[in-house]
């Protein structure tokens, strides 16, 4: 019993915390007020129901399994005007944030959809545009100075990790290409391709010449046979 309820409770708490911390959540939630988005996660074979109001998002699980397939217009899962249903892979969930990808996802069959597309676009916009100022949020708990210190240290740490990772990737690439040649540089691949192309051209020319010689030989043979008869 508890697993879906734990998931929906944790999700609801997390999402609403993020809304609280975001400076622009009110404006983003307004168009979604009184609307519902049902998201069916294909791998989990279960749907989560997001009900929006102007300040809060309620998340509940679909205990009756009403939304496991495209909603039936005449059945209990029939959608109201203010509802939409989406079926999507867990691994494509982050793509929901990209509003311009929506039609592409639907066309490529990665997203099954029914209902009001405006709701889905609103949800996408909400999660894409949420603006959370981490420093501002932290200052309420630990004070301005500590929040600033933590934030700037965090930024430095992230930058430093990024730099180290890029150095590491260059070192590994060099090692793989030069010291332990288990890979090749692009220029070597291009040279190799050029050599193969040249060889293919030589071969084609040689083949054409052979064919020509064959034809000439056949003609000569025919002429000889004609004289002897």
């Amino acid at each position: 019993m508890a697993a879906p309820q734990m998931v929906s409770a944790a999700l609801e708490a997390g999402v609403n915390k993020a809304l609280k911390w975001s400076s622009n959540s009110v404006g983003l939630l307004k168009p979604l007020a009184d609307k519902t988005c049902i998201i069916y996660i294909q791998e989990l074979e279960s749907a989560l129901i997001f009900s929006f109001n102007d300040r809060y998002i309620s998340v509940s699980s679909d205990t009756d399994s009403l939304y496991t397939s495209l909603p039936d217009d005449n059945g209990p899962s029939a959608l109201y005007d203010n509802e939409c249903w989406v079926s999507i892979s867990f691994f494509a969930l982050d793509k929901l944030k990209q509003n311009n990808q929506m039609t592409k996802l639907i066309k490529s069959g990665k997203l099954d959809f029914s209902g009001d597309l405006g709701i889905l676009q609103g949800v996408s916009r909400l999660f894409d545009k949420l603006d959370i100022d981490v420093e501002e949020v932290m200052s309420a708990y630990v004070g301005d100075a500590a929040a600033y210190q933590f934030n700037s240290s965090g930024k430095k740490l992230v930058a430093s990790i990024g730099q180290q990772l890029s150095i590491l990737s260059v070192t590994l690439a060099d090692a793989a290409l030069d010291e332990k040649p288990i890979g090749v540089r692009p220029i070597i691949v291009m040279n190799f391709n050029d050599e193969v192309n040249a060889l293919r051209a030589d071969f084609d020319r040689f083949e054409a010449r052979l064919a020509l010689m064959e034809v000439k030989l056949k003609i000569k043979m025919n002429v000889k046979q004609g004289k002897s008869t």
């Binding site: 019993m1 309820q5 007020a33 009900s51 809060y56 309620s58 509940s60 205990t63 009756d64 509802e83």
Partner: protein
């Protein structure tokens, strides 16, 4: 038919009712139950968390997930106490919907009202002091009725269920979340030990009221088991009835529809 079933079906005719393990005059039970809840109202939420180790939140969330409530619908949270379910339903039905938080006990209702107001839940929630046996609402009015941990305190359960059936819209559903009978003997023994020895002590320690919590434990034992309650729902007209045991049957969620 089991003894318990006989006892329940004869609720209407007998002049006495169960108040925990004791038999009391039917007319007095409501007042006695009211006294218990006047006494525990202030600490009700704290005690719920303590007694259930917070699991009651998942029981209630499961109930909400089973409600199928949608925007614009009308919900009656009966014996709604401190408004846990009503708060959630209020957000789900939105401004075009309506939630009625009803409780027979004004102390509980006041605590619930204050809690919801403090959470900023206003506009679509109404508070009504009402007896579940005689609901003051028109016929076919609500899309959903929930009664969580309240039915066992009602004097005449069949009458209350019939009253709920009356105010439900055709197609509407009733959800009864209530303590029930543990599904295994071992769990039953542990549960008994907990509720008759530990629970009154926690009640004494936190709410300084061991007697009220002893009543709560006794009333749970006297409440109809899963099958009996389902039968009672059928008897008053509910269809497609079913129940789902939670936490090994310590609690059960009963569901029934009016068609």
């Amino acid at each position: 038919m089991s003894n318990k079933k006989q006892k329940n079906t004869s609720d209407n005719e007998s002049a006495t009712a169960d108040f925990g393990f004791t038999k009391v005059d039917k007319a007095k039970k409501a007042d006695m139950v009211a006294d218990v809840f006047h006494s525990v109202a202030a600490k009700y939420d704290v005690m719920n968390d303590l007694m259930s180790l917070g699991i009651h939140r998942f029981w209630k969330r499961y109930t909400i997930d089973c409600s199928g409530v949608r925007s614009g619908q009308k919900v009656l949270d009966l014996a709604g106490g401190t408004g846990d379910l009503a708060a959630k339903f209020s957000k789900m039905v939105g401004p075009s919907g309506e939630v009625v938080l009803a409780d027979i006990n004004h102390s509980m209702l006041n605590v619930g009202k204050e809690k919801l107001l403090n959470k900023g839940i206003v506009g679509n929630v109404h508070y009504v002091q009402a007896n579940a046996e005689k609901l003051p609402f028109p016929n076919h009015h609500f899309d959903l009725i929930t009664i969580a941990f309240g039915l066992r305190n009602v004097t005449d359960k069949s009458k209350a269920l019939a009253s709920m059936f009356r105010v439900l819209k055709p197609g509407g559903r009733l959800l009864v979340l209530e303590f029930s009978k543990p599904s295994t003997e071992a769990l039953s023994k542990v549960y008994d030990a907990y509720s008759f020895y530990l629970l009154p002590k926690i009640g004494k320690l936190v709410a300084n009221d061991a007697e009220s919590y002893r009543y709560l434990a006794e009333s749970i034992r006297m409440h109809p088991d899963q099958d009996s309650l389902e039968q009672m729902m059928k008897d008053v007209g509910f269809e497609q009835t079913s129940y789902h045991n939670l936490t090994g049957g310590i609690v059960a969620l009963h569901r029934g529809y009016k068609f």
